[in-house]
Symmetry: C2
């Protein structure tokens, strides 16, 4: 059938045209859809289910550190957005403005939240009075809007889904501790749950969040050698507290400003999963985040006993806590294999009349395509073991790839050579001056991704004493 | 201490001033907070955690019927909203308009979704081609905006949280089946999970959803005798499909329009919980939806062994799957009891030195204040049993109250007498004419809440043959 042919058509090779490959995968795995709303994306069931798994797992990890969820309004009055100078300069150029409510023009226009620092500050100023009210460790799951000119599914969209944590603490030390804690929660989550290795570090002043004292980041390397900023954690010091008047009476009866943090992760993580793990047959989902972990595909499904056996295997997998389903559509096995590969289900199980005679079935890994003949009686146990192996090896492969694509540049010629010819991170010292950072970007399109800790040397660009060891890269 | 005194101050009695009682409870149980965004509310941790439990349980029940979650843009271009005539007339007067993105005026203004029928239709028109693509049974969890003039926490707010299901089917029968299925999912959820009895029925043409062929509703009775519309399920027939051109090639190769439904529940359910179950000491949460089901309160907590025993009980409860915590703050036991009652935790466990000597502790129900002395060795088992009893009896009490507040009016004098003197539902026949419905509202402020099925008599208002048995009531 025409439809079958269309689906199994090969997608663009990722080494030929990575951007087109990405677009093909997103579309053919049915992660997103289109509406008439320019620059905004639709999360279709397969895409949204990945986000649900990310959300549920992150939320569990947040709550284990004492985070409480809240929900604040999506609108921010203009005067509120304007209260912190650096912040409004960073965001005002890219917000959407509501000017009319019902049939009337508003007295004051409001933006749709690009981020909610100002609203949390407004709430904290009303709610925090005493040291007894601290700390506040709030988070919200919501969508935010940034009026981007060019958009790409998951990576850059006028509206995206995210979580934003906003905390208030009695001391600078506590705030710094929370900032680092959340960065580590993020890093562990990516490595453990999404099988994506990260580099942790601090943003330069040029790259930090508007209004932050310090921004920490985790940076992941995509298959094309570009960096993807995957989560950030900000320490605001008492800057926002001073702008919004958030003070508390401490145990010593002194009135003090709180110290604040914020931290966020977004649906761009789905883009990271695609670009780190995907291949020329489509999506490859790590088992832990995969909405469907295993699809059972009957071979000659009209033959006696085949569908029953497929259902039996499916039931055994589900009973063992594996997210499984049977593909009982009227497509050919070949079509179903290609479909499973396109959608990135980590494993399929093939079972046909000959397998049944032998009391066996065949496990096929999505990531390596290796096949394993196993006894049907042990199928759930074997499948669970194999899912663990897949998760582990996907991380190891991604890490080996990442490590093989970190280049150390001792001088500016080496830097420029790497930027031109070696897609990946460039590890190079930097004097700390904006002029060199700008020069490097102008010469190579590389931006500083993050500053590592410790070490001393000379700046790769100007040759003056270096203050920072920086990971540089071309970024999304 | 001043703060202690403030918290335990009695709230307004619900029989003296129900509206003020509601406001007091919402505030003192810390369900909501305020920001500078007029007409919009903040869901604080205690309020949002209730919504999380509602969402998780409803989502589970939805998925068991084949629902898939998606996420669509929050913006709707004006031309898209205008496509279905009745729909736009119903919503245009109460939407918020975005006119500027970044620094530029938009070519076409967009509203922030008041509901997403038009966007789902836009998506379905692109995605549905063949009978193979049907049914679509999509749902999204999001916030929506309606520019209300007067607002009340949870009940009426410019932005609120909800779920909206939108489905497309090959036949009218399938659409009607889904409409009724979801109404029953809603009704069962309220009765089983929230312990709120409901009346199920159909809305009159005057009260139905803008653009719907039929709207089904569940109506709950609040403690003051007013009705609260608690969930609606709409059958659109093929009206939207014709407006948006959503056609599919059926098995007989004929091009046909799909039949659609939509259905939604909102955070006003939290208002229903408060107004059905609350009392003069504050909130009373049914155990199934309560974020904290049991709080362990140590008596003389500095005495040797008391805190250890409280922690031990808490651990035993948690191990049995009960959502428990210890109140180990430096407040007095009396303060803690009042606090537990205000926040509506279904049960507290008191344990002090004398209880410990006897190997016992005291379980106290929030709903009836009954006390039970139990052996600490069996505490988790006893607590679990008691939570079940509380859930069951809360429903039975609410049902007895509701049933005692349904008045049957045989003629218009009885109707007006009931409307004036008997807060509750009025069960009365109706001829089906808008004139009588309007007359009844003008005379009594009662609106038709829903039409029951079957039966024949004469209209309570005009005396002509009746077509419908209607539940009437004053509503939120």
């Amino acid at each position: 059938m025409a439809q079958e042919k269309k689906l199994v058509e090969s997608i663009t090779s990722r080494d030929v045209d990575f951007a087109q490959w990405y677009t093909d995968v997103v579309k053919k795995a049915e992660l997103t859809g289109y509406t008439s709303v320019k620059g905004c994306m639709v999360f279709k069931p397969a895409g949204y289910a990945i986000w649900e798994n990310i959300r549920n797992e992150l939320d569990r990890r947040f709550k284990a550190t004492g985070v409480e969820n809240v929900y604040l309004p999506m609108f921010i009055p203009e005067s509120l957005l304007n209260k912190e100078k650096d912040h409004v300069e960073g965001f005002a150029p890219e917000v959407a403005w509501v000017t009319h409510g019902g049939l009337n023009e508003l007295q004051e226009r409001m933006c749709v939240r690009p981020t909610s620092e100002t609203l949390f500050c407004d709430l904290y100023a009303k709610d925090i009075h005493s040291y007894r009210d601290l700390p506040k460790v709030y988070n919200q799951w919501c969508s935010v809007v940034r009026w981007e000119k060019t958009t790409r599914p998951f990576l850059r969209s006028r509206e995206f889904l995210w979580q934003e944590g906003h905390t208030a603490h009695a001391t600078a030390e506590e705030a710094e501790e929370r900032t680092e804690l959340m960065l580590n929660v993020y890093a562990d989550f990516l490595e453990d749950f999404l099988a994506i290795p990260v580099v942790r570090g601090r943003k330069t002043d040029k790259e930090k969040f508007a209004g932050a004292e310090a921004t920490y980041t985790i940076e992941a390397l995509m298959h094309d050698g570009k960096a993807l900023q995957s989560g950030t954690s900000h320490n605001f010091g008492d800057g926002f507290a001073r702008a919004f008047g958030i003070q508390f009476a401490d145990k010593d009866n002194q009135l003090k400003y709180v110290h604040q943090t914020s931290w966020g992760m977004t649906t761009r993580l789905i883009g990271a999963i695609i670009m780190v793990h995907g291949d020329d047959s489509g999506l490859v989902l790590p088992p832990k985040v995969a909405p469907t972990q295993c699809v059972v595909i009957p071979i000659r499904q009209k033959a006696e006993g085949v569908m029953d056996k497929a259902d039996e295997i499916n039931a055994a997998l589900k009973a063992a806590g594996i997210r499984a389903k049977v593909d009982d559509t009227d497509r050919s096995p070949g079509y179903k294999f290609a479909d499973q590969e396109m959608r990135g289900f980590p494993m399929r199980i093939e079972v046909g009349p000959k397998d049944i005679e032998r009391g066996e079935c065949v496990l096929v890994r999505r990531d390596t395509r290796e096949k394993y003949q196993v006894k049907t009686d042990n199928v759930a146990e074997e499948a669970a073991k194999l899912l663990d192996v897949i998760q582990k090896e996907m991380f190891e492969r991604a890490k080996a790839f990442r490590d093989a694509h970190i280049y150390t540049a001792e001088n500016y010629d080496e830097f420029k050579d790497a930027a031109d010819n070696k897609p990946g991170f460039i590890r190079a010292y930097w004097c700390g001056e904006l002029a060199c950072e700008d020069q490097i970007k102008a010469d190579t399109t590389c931006t500083s991704r993050c500053m590592a800790f410790g070490d001393d040397s000379v700046c790769v660009c100007c040759g003056k004493p270096a203050k920072k060891l920086v990971y540089w890269g071309k970024a999304y």
